[in-house]
């Protein structure tokens, strides 16, 4: 399973766009990149998933360059409720044995 590396923590002010970058140099051809969000005392919650280029949903955007060795989760106009831990994971179909790293603890400042 590809190992991921992401910043331990980040701070941002309300209303700003936040970009969290994840490195996955050993990503395999059939791996997908998936991001989860976790609030205290809750389980991880799926945010977005992509294979290449750009994916956007109502919550976030995911940018994946052509070499797929990294990805960037973009959260537009963050609010205090976006304070959480964000996990970047890679996995492939048929092997949903997810490997969670340390994640990025995002703190939104009023």
């Amino acid at each position: 399973l590809a190992k991921t590396t992401q910043p331990i923590s980040m701070d941002s002010y309300e209303g700003q766009e936040v970009n969290i970058t994840c490195s996955h140099n050993n990503i395999a051809t059939n791996d997908y990149i998936t991001w989860y969000q976790q609030f205290p005392s809750q389980g991880p919650r799926f945010i977005i998933q992509g294979y290449k280029t750009k994916v956007t949903n109502e919550v976030a955007s995911l940018f994946i360059p052509a070499d797929r060795k990294s990805s960037t989760l973009s959260l537009p106009r963050v609010s205090l409720s976006d304070t959480a831990v964000y996990y970047c994971l890679v996995a492939n179909f048929g092997n949903e044995k997810l490997t969670f790293g340390t994640g990025t603890r995002l703190t939104i400042i009023p």
Partner: protein, 116 residues
Amino acid sequence: EAGVTQFPSHSVIEKGQTVTLRCDPISGHDNLYWYRRVMGKEIKFLLHFVKESKQDESGMPNNRFLAERTGGTYSTLKVQPAELEDSGVYFCASSLVGTGGISPLHFGNGTRLTVT
């Protein structure tokens, strides 16, 4: 749609006792997973059911842990006898069997187990 529910939300037991955790997946989800986070560590995979069959139990720490999913609906995870190092948060997740990509896992809020 009801989410993944886990019971109990908290459990405090003494070393050597037995505890059974329960997980009710989202209706229709054939995939069911158990994960756990022990103190200060990362969330780790324990095992994966497809319906009532164990697909992958490579993450189960030892034979004190027994997971079942009779009838392919809810699942239980029994720890017997519990040891101090079993303390942590046990998460259950479920997903549909997808046809492409990774079917998102829907996690419950976990059971916080404290062994004293």
